[in-house]
Symmetry: D2
Subunit: 226 residues, 4 copies
Amino acid sequence: MNVTLLSHTPDPERVCAAAALTSYWHKGASETFGVLTEKEIEDILSKVMGYGHVSVIEHATFTFSIEGISRACSHQLVRHRLASYTQQSQRYVRVEELDPVVPATIAGEERAAEAYGACMKAVQETYETLVGLGVPTEDARFILPNATTTNIVMTVNARELRHFFKYRCCERAQWEIRAVAREMLALVRAVAPKIFKNAGPSCVCEHVCPEGDLSCGRIKVNANGT
Amino acid sequence: MNVTLLSHTPDPERVCAAAALTSYWHKGASETFGVLTEKEIEDILSKVMGYGHVSVIEHATFTFSIEGISRACSHQLVRHRLASYTQQSQRYVRVEELDPVVPATIAGEERAAEAYGACMKAVQETYETLVGLGVPTEDARFILPNATTTNIVMTVNARELRHFFKYRCCERAQWEIRAVAREMLALVRAVAPKIFKNAGPSCVCEHVCPEGDLSCGRIKVNANGT
Amino acid sequence: MNVTLLSHTPDPERVCAAAALTSYWHKGASETFGVLTEKEIEDILSKVMGYGHVSVIEHATFTFSIEGISRACSHQLVRHRLASYTQQSQRYVRVEELDPVVPATIAGEERAAEAYGACMKAVQETYETLVGLGVPTEDARFILPNATTTNIVMTVNARELRHFFKYRCCERAQWEIRAVAREMLALVRAVAPKIFKNAGPSCVCEHVCPEGDLSCGRIKVNANGT
Amino acid sequence: MNVTLLSHTPDPERVCAAAALTSYWHKGASETFGVLTEKEIEDILSKVMGYGHVSVIEHATFTFSIEGISRACSHQLVRHRLASYTQQSQRYVRVEELDPVVPATIAGEERAAEAYGACMKAVQETYETLVGLGVPTEDARFILPNATTTNIVMTVNARELRHFFKYRCCERAQWEIRAVAREMLALVRAVAPKIFKNAGPSCVCEHVCPEGDLSCGRIKVNANGT
């Protein structure tokens, strides 16, 4: 897995702070944008985000290239609808080498790892047989497993990212998307520390756990306040 | 594949016509809703949709149960972000019988069909081996193919449905999602004929083809007006 | 102000429960939809919503006609982007009688009420003068105040409605949209009691208050868990 | 009116082209991003956009500060739901000087201009009277007209921008939002010429007019292909 921050709104916290000021002041953002100090930016963001006025951080967007994840993981990822995606097509791109993702529960159990590896080899051979027989790539892909690696570009704003981290950085999230989410969080925290300083799972960003009796138990306050 | 219309806005065209009238008249929809005649509903919808005022048909929503499609197809389906989905989980639901979708290009070629069938059998056996060895369902699923069948419930409004039909009823769309789209269109046309009468691919609903040199050639006017 | 529930998904909780089951069971919703008992529906919704699996309630949609609210209120309303709106147009509909909304802080103070009434009368006369001089309705409307009443049709799903109630039923919300939100909540609770039983402001639905030092003080637990 | 491009995705066309390549090639965007030539970027974008594969341009986002427009105009603007907005609040920001927008049809007719100006003066005075009597700003604003100027920050991606230009650059659009749209188009065309070269109203970007008998007549081909 390889997660990179391909691009992002330049000086993202300045943009969000200038937007926030627009809301509370008679001056337009074109006037305040260039003159805000880092201290003012911090104060503005801290204040408005503290009041739950989180829409202002939608003005900062981030583009990631997420490479070498399984199709199982990308299927979960694209279910977050408030983002933009471009994914490697199995209709158009012929799979040369399967190179599947191997879950730790399989890699760590010899018999499981052997069965898994042998099956993947058979799948790869059958895929090639099908393509060799003239089956179009878009139909031959029906045999490809969830473990097949894929690349995807994702653009998402800071508000939706915080929502994404809330669910996908949680211990209860599936291990692969959790690993992706944690890498994304580290990347954006480096360029927008004020926006993402307390981002993370519910227990970190909201001090409550919504998972009920499935909770990992890290904190005791559940979402019912009990 | 089995596509059913599970539920929909009752009297969907009346709702949309009353909403449209709100825009152009001083009376509220609560006054006009009950008294509009079928003829008036037809006239209103025909007029506003003719002017491209298509947001009014967002007030009609439709819920489908789409069952027995491949995960390849559901992956395409959920990329339409302006809709709501609930899909059978491979993390929680153990696959008892693979029963994979078989593309016609494979079913129609004996050697391909044999290779495909044998491989699917091996996959099913390996899945069971993994589960038997204690691998969690959510990890064993990594071996499951795109051909695995799935069930999904989708709720979507009429505006987005027309957009969906524009792309997915096209000859250039992938065959499985095209079959789903055509069944969906038949189902909604039966309950909202005025809204969906000229719905379908671009060549039907807009009399142009955006596919350029990949066009099926059914119509000659391309999207550049040439 | 007059808020009516114009239409909604028939048997909305059955639809959502059948969708939820799709996620956790191998049976499709077309099989379970007709046979679920009320008790099963309650158990399913209570369980999945308790786990924060709230996307299933997106399958229930509600269409309201909201009439006689101010343009100030409708301007706030339409900022909720995950919904569909059709609003009375000031470009096309000539205002015959201004009939403005009067805030209680103005109605309850004699001098304020007089000044407000006199000014509204002058505005109405000027509007008519402008229209009489041939100014198009779409330009004459520039003189119309935020207090001008408007009608709007809104379609929104249950998930977004719960989010809407969380912010707009709060004591800190503006009084007019709070009144609208409370009427909407009463209307949907009557047709979908299981979905909306604990809907309302954050202090009701999540037992925390995100308003910080601006809190009304009804509950003491703030969003920082302190 | 003052429209500025506050910020945007750096090198927006490179980002979109690298994302597009991800779809059609086995290499990830982190590999291609840095090495694409301007010629390759042009070829890729031209090809994929020509096939209607417009989702790739969602990866480029633009943040505008739009200042000194009327509330009538901002009300239209925010109806485009696939964008992010932060607007000057009339609840929190006291209006010091009304400085209303004056439509040309009013400015150009002496009697209209006089009636309009006198009325605006009366409104301003009444607003101050109300505030002086202790009416909260959020209630005193009920008297403020659609003509009141406002500032708004808008962040939107290139795909939605092209959609916005299609409707709002049209001769049939309201004059004020059309002026805003044209300034926005000029600003983004300067930084992303390949993406926006043929952006504009339907007659420019699609060579058809959807306005039926309300068309300005610039082109003859209507949306029915006749």
